[in-house]
């Protein structure tokens, strides 16, 4: 099971996914599913943490919740994209109305994953953006 590494860690981060979510249940679910699929999983509990980890660890992609304490997912995404424009970011939100989806894509999300999601959809999306493991 790959571990999240520090430093430039490009190799280590190639199959690493950052999960940014304030809900512990969601964190555990994503971690369990993605690790099972062979990816390394980094966890951030709020927006600022997500920015911090993303810029430091340069994960292959980020699974970003929106409603988080501190700065929300969209603000975090904006800051990360400002530094690393190519960083794939999937907004995974329980705000799942059609208008929300448009809003997230317009804010710069590479893809949108509505909660609740099928586990296979999560894996497929990660494989698409982070490369199949």
């Amino acid at each position: 099971m790959p571990e999240a590494t520090t430093g430039n860690g490009s190799a280590a981060s190639k199959y690493t996914v950052l999960v940014a979510d304030d809900n512990e249940v969601a964190q555990r679910l994503c971690k369990r599913v993605l690790e099972k699929a062979g990816y390394g999983v980094l966890i951030a509990g709020d927006g600022l943490q997500a920015v911090d980890i993303a810029l430091r660890e340069r994960p292959a992609m980020i699974l970003m919740d929106v409603a988080m304490p501190g700065i929300d997912g969209l603000e975090a995404m904006k800051r990360i994209k400002a530094e690393v424009p190519a960083m794939p970011i999937v907004i995974a939100s329980a705000h799942s109305m059609a208008s929300d989806r448009e809003r997230f894509l317009a804010a710069g999300a590479d893809s949108v994953l509505s909660k609740p999601f099928r586990l296979a959809d999560l894996v497929a999306m990660v494989q698409t953006l982070a490369g199949p493991k």
Partner: protein, 794 residues
Amino acid sequence: MPMSWTRILVRRATPYAALASILAVQALARTDAVVAFPLYLAVVLVVSLQQDRAEAFAVAALAAVAVVIPPLATSRGTAEVASAILLAAVLLAVALAVGELMRHARASTIAAQRQADEMLAVDRRLHALLESAQVGLGLADLEGRLTMINDRLAAILSRGREELLGTTVAGLTAEGDRPGVEEGLGLIRSGDIGKWEAMVELVPADGKRVPVGLFLSRIPSTVTGEPAIVVQLTDMTQRRRADSIVECLSTVRQVLVNSATVDIALPPILAALCSRLGWSAAQLWMPDADRSAMRVRTAWNASGPLLDGFLHACRGAAPRKGEALAGRVWKTGAVSAEEDVQGAAHHQLRAAARMAGLQSALAFPIVSAGEVIGVVELLSDSHRTVDDDEVSMLADAGLEIGQFIRRSETASALRRSEADHRAIFERSPIGIARIGGDGELLEANSALLHILEQDEETMRMSGWPDLLRAYDQAAGRQHRAPFLGAIGEASTLQVRAATGAGNWLWLQLTATSIPDATGAPEHILVMVEDVTAVRETSDRLNEALDAQRQANIDLAKLDRTKSEFLSIVSHEFRTALTGIQGFSELIRDGGLEGDEVKAYGGYIFNDAHRVNRLITDMLDLDRMESGRMSMRSGDVDINDVLMEAISRAAPSATSVEFKSDLDPRLPIVVGDRDRLIQVVSNIVNNAVKYSPDGGTVTISSRVEGRFALISVTDTGLGIPPDEIGHVFERFRRVRSGAAQSIPGTGLGLTIVKQIVEMHGGKIWVESAVGHGSSFHFTIPLAPESANALQLRHA
């Protein structure tokens, strides 16, 4: 005496011829002058007696010459000549003497003749005077027997002179006056008085009575006769008539002065015209409303039933202008008499006129403002002459009646107008007050007293001044002039006022200034309407409109809140479902360790529970807000409730310290224990949730008046000022800063507030960011508890 010239010539020539003849005969006979002398004397005497003096002298001179000439011619002796001259002188003296005598005789004859002529003239003048006198004059002996009368006297008595001579004055007098006259005669006869006069009635031949002024005066006896009595009669018929006419007009005036309306005045006026002027009947014609014809307005019958028929027929007649006597007078506006009444009567009336035996008719116009407004027709069943006095009096009466009708119509119009206004004032459903210049109540109608539920006296003393004050206050609020200041312009204002029975009304006051004749305000009319119903309806309408407007705003807000709510709720649901769905998918797919399955089952259960709570909260709130939630009320010990809530919260809130400051003497309240626990738990949970870094949660209870006051104070994040006002609203959650991640349905405090208010309490919050929040709420004490408490405190 007129005499032909030939006779004058013969007469004057004759003496000369006689003289010549005597001379010739003397000469032929050669007689002496003495012989011829008597002949000459005779001629001279005759001439002197018959002719005037000059003639007599001429003849005498010629005779003297004739006496002298023969002696001279025959040259007789001187003696003879002398005697001849003597004789001639005698002739001349005779002629002179006789001429003188004749002159005297003639002069006295002329004087006597003149005297006789003068006496005759005086007699004639006296006679003429007697006859021309408008009074009846006569001479009677002392017994009163008429010995001489003039024509006038005969005319007054309608008898011939001869018939009257010898009749006594007393015998001509009407029976009633006879004793008086006889007494008068007696007094004069005895010489006690010289003159006597009286108004008496005589009875002429035709049987009618003639009013006369009788004047008797005694003429003393003369050489030629006995003392006599001069009888003087003045016919008073005309004067009586003139008096009647004057009296008639004065009666008409008197009636007019004392009558209110034409219908009251006319019957006595018609009666007076009949009685004073001697008419049989009278009737008033007045034009129809459309002035096309005249109709009888009122009639008076002073005579028998025969005229009743004619008057009745007149009631059915309608002569047009110019038709019949009434119509003619209507047209001409002049008094007019009808000579041939039966022939000229209106064709509808001719038969009735004949049957009634109408003979005379006279009609005069009633004139008002130059217009004929009626015609009075006077009717008589005997022939009757009409004099100028009567005509002019009737014309005057017509004018005065016309003026009266005009006045009385004006007066009755005024009376009607006054009555109308009085009726409006009295019967109006609108309250009306008459107000004096100083605002004092002069008069109030019954509607006003009814509206204000007051009697007039109370109204005057207090009700009206109160109303004026209310008016002035209302006017002040609307920046309008006070009541008395607004006089002169019609002003309307609605005021709130209490009635005598204490009911509050909305009254609409409309004030109108009524000017006097000079235009200065004399009094004020105030109309008072009870507009309470209108006003309340409009107030309710405005309230409803306001409510509707607010509801629309609320609805719009609700719409936004609802979208927000849906967004929040769906987010919460989906967040919970993410775990439920994901972990149940993992379990379903199998290949898990036993521990894993157990842990995932726990996640699923927690999230499912969370979803359930959300649903419960929403349904609770919906029930409370729609009033469908029932409370199970019972005696509740608040301190027990607080301890229960702490014991429930404490196990999952390890980071905070709970403190309690409970009043042990806090009385019980009546309420729903479970709901009260829900309230306290919710507030306590919030206190814990919003104290992420730990701290103290202090719960206290105490009595505050008739309420139990419960406070939950934390040392947590606090509520920003811009959000503190909204914490009890649905779906409002403090999500700024550190509070953002704190989960919640956003319905908790809304539900809390609802429950508190359902118990009759209040809830409020004090907070300072960084220092924590204090939630306070009150629950009313049970009534007996409150009383007991008061007793205890007393």
